[in-house]
């Protein structure tokens, strides 16, 4: 789908310092007395795809709007490289944005939609045509130039919105849940396409989503948010391997990590009073293991998702389907000591000491 043309940044829009990352510090926002964002400190590295992930209402879209300049923070700063973005209007921030609803102008054709910004900025017609041809080819939109948004499919509208962001050749691209209106198959396709584009163009992309699969598959870095704060940030593998809190443990990974009272696992000492995390794939059948009744099982082809009950706590395991299930309905659960995650039962924070 993606043609091998290069959009690059050679054509003179001259963004400031292409290697500059975006640094937020102490960013806060309250709406009608309610804290939406509370002291956000994070850096989005240049040329990387950072995903802001969180449940709805966690403040991730508000954060994106503050970066875009569509909303003003109540406290804190936003820097692009050494430049303070606070006094700048949205258009002067060298930031492009793709909206959740695509925000295509219904009265304009596809080409006019993509060229909207360039024509406002009075870019020469020859340049407009050249840049249009490039993004249209890059996104496989050829032949649709004269169509109005209503005559395009959802996937095509999504590509037009993307094209409008790319043609500006700004170094930073914000995306607000761009795939949430597409069906599952198209979503998977666009996911890899957007990721490939981002890497090829060296864009700094900040991508907001509530879908942890999108975050895991696309991100260089995940910024996990909950209730207006950053819960954890890091590479997808790092967060998956060592979630910093109960919330991160439950939100990242499918199925979510099992959280079991230590006593129910038969642990002693400090661990008895702790909340123990066990990934579904880290549990195995072990003849010497802990006996637990099987509550339910789901066949997923290669895997079998088995739910057992450990002292009133349902625990989901992911077992190779070929192994089969014990005939008596009792599963003997075993695990490696290193696979356990420990959380404070009160604060929910990860505990590092064994």
């Amino acid at each position: 789908m993606i043609a091998q043309t290069d959009i690059g940044r050679q054509s003179g829009s001259g963004p400031a310092s292409p290697g500059a990352g975006l640094r937020l510090s102490g960013l806060a926002r309250a709406i009608a007395g309610r804290r939406i964002l509370d002291g956000i400190d994070v850096t989005f590295e240049a040329g990387a795809l950072s995903v802001i992930l969180g449940p709805s209402g966690c403040g991730k879209s508000t954060l994106l709007r503050l970066i875009a300049g569509l909303d003003a923070p109540d406290g804190g700063t936003i820097h692009l490289g050494a430049r303070d973005l606070a006094p700048l209007p949205p258009a002067a921030r060298d930031i492009a944005m793709v909206f959740q609803s695509y925000a295509l102008f219904p009265h304009l054709t596809m080409a006019e939609n993509i060229l909207f910004g360039l024509s406002l900025r009075r870019v020469a017609r020859v340049d407009q045509a050249r840049r249009l041809a490039r993004v249209v080819e890059m996104l496989g939109l050829g032949g649709l130039e004269a169509r109005k948004p209503a005559q395009l499919s959802g996937g095509q509208q999504q590509r037009v919105a993307l094209a409008r962001a790319l043609i500006s050749e700004r170094p930073i691209c914000l995306m607000d849940e761009p795939l949430s209106n597409l069906d599952a198959k198209l979503r998977a396709e666009m996911r890899s396409e957007i990721r490939a584009l981002q890497q090829r163009l060296g864009l700094t992309m900040i991508y907001v989503t509530h879908d942890q699969v999108e975050a895991m598959t696309m991100a260089d870095k995940i910024v996990l948010m909950n209730e207006g704060r950053i819960e954890q940030e890091g590479a997808p593998e790092a967060i998956y391997a060592a979630p910093a809190s109960r919330f991160a443990a439950r939100f990242i990974g499918m199925p979510p990590m099992n959280l079991i009272p230590g006593a129910a696992l038969g642990l002693t000492g400090h661990d008895a009073g702790r909340l123990i995390g066990l990934r579904a794939e880290d549990g195995r059948i072990d003849p010497q293991g802990l006996a637990a009744p099987i509550v339910a099982h789901e066949f997923h082809g290669a895997d079998l998702f088995v739910t057992i009950r450990l002292a009133e706590t349902p625990v989901m395991l992911r077992l190779p389907a070929r192994t089969g299930l014990p005939a008596d309905g009792i599963l003997r659960l075993g695990w490696d000591a290193g696979a356990l995650h420990r959380f404070d039962p009160v604060t929910g924070r990860r505990l590092t000491e064994p």
């Binding site: 875009a68 258009a91 925000a103 909207f116 910004g117 500006s168």
Partner: protein
């Protein structure tokens, strides 16, 4: 009541109403295209003539009246749209002190019958020295509360993300209004334009009071003076003149009929 009878009654009622409404127009057309002898004498094979039109045209300065009316309705509509667009945008999308109070005043304007204000308006026009001018007829109507209200409602339905997308691309307020809001509100502009033009084309009492010379009189006033003279003007000539003066509106309605009805449905008013 059975559905069949129901439909029949509706159909009969609709036809009856249509015929009653059509009767004066049909009579005007009949007399205008026949010699004066057939004014009250309907004969199917009566000779058809167009002589009444040139007769009417030369008996009064209709060309001047036409010009006056066209200047009047276009200037009113033009100013109404500019003022209405700016005010509606401010009410719909900008934040400023006293916004809701001001909007209440705009709504209040819609509740006051213009005829109540005739004396007050006349005094104002006299103070401004605009009595007996086209500007004097139009000025009281140029800031239309209806236009502001209608456009504000339409602007409010335009998704905020479009607004934001345009601002991300560097659109100034002027660009935003001209390139996003106005084009998207086109049906509302058409609906309001038709209402405004037909209202002011047909307006009679106010222009009659505020004008007293050929130079300022619109068609409606000119026509009434023409037909009220005791000089024995024939009905056939009067009706020819009436048809001439209402023809542009009738034609306009026929041409825009479809768009007219749809615009009103879309604009949410009936």
């Amino acid at each position: 009541m059975s559905a069949g009878l129901d439909a029949l009654l509706i159909r009969v009622g609709a036809w009856a109403l249509a015929l009653i409404w059509l009767a004066p127009l049909a009579y005007a057309v009949w007399t205008a295209f026949h010699p004066a002898a057939y004014e009250t004498h309907f004969a199917l094979l009566a000779p058809i003539t167009v002589e009444n039109f040139p007769k009417a045209w030369v008996q009064a300065p209709f060309a001047r009246y036409f010009l006056n009316t066209i200047l009047l309705v276009t200037s009113i509509l033009g100013v109404q749209l500019v003022v209405g667009t700016l005010a509606a945008f401010a009410f719909a999308r900008l934040q400023f002190a006293g916004k809701s109070g001001l909007f209440a005043l705009v709504l209040m304007q819609m509740m006051v019958m213009p005829d109540i204000l005739i004396v007050e308006n006349y005094q104002t026009m006299r103070a401004l020295g605009l009595v007996d001018t086209i500007a004097g007829i139009g000025l009281p109507y140029m800031a239309s509360g209806f236009a502001i209200f209608l456009l504000r409602q339409t602007f409010l339905t335009i998704p905020r993300e479009l607004d934001e997308a345009a601002r991300m691309e560097g659109a100034s307020l002027r660009h935003l209004i001209l390139r996003v809001y106005v084009p998207l509100a086109k049906p509302t502009y058409i609906a309001f334009g038709l209402v405004s033009v037909s209202a002011h084309w047909n307006d009679f009492i106010w222009p009659l009071i505020v004008t007293n010379s050929v130079e300022a009189r619109p068609l409606t006033v000119g026509l009434s003076i023409f037909s009220a003279t005791d000089s024995g003007v024939q009905w056939s000539v009067i009706n020819a003149a009436t048809l001439m003066t209402s023809a542009p509106l009738l034609l306009g309605f026929l041409i825009f009929q479809r768009q007219f009805v749809q615009s009103f449905l879309r604009a949410g008013i009936k």
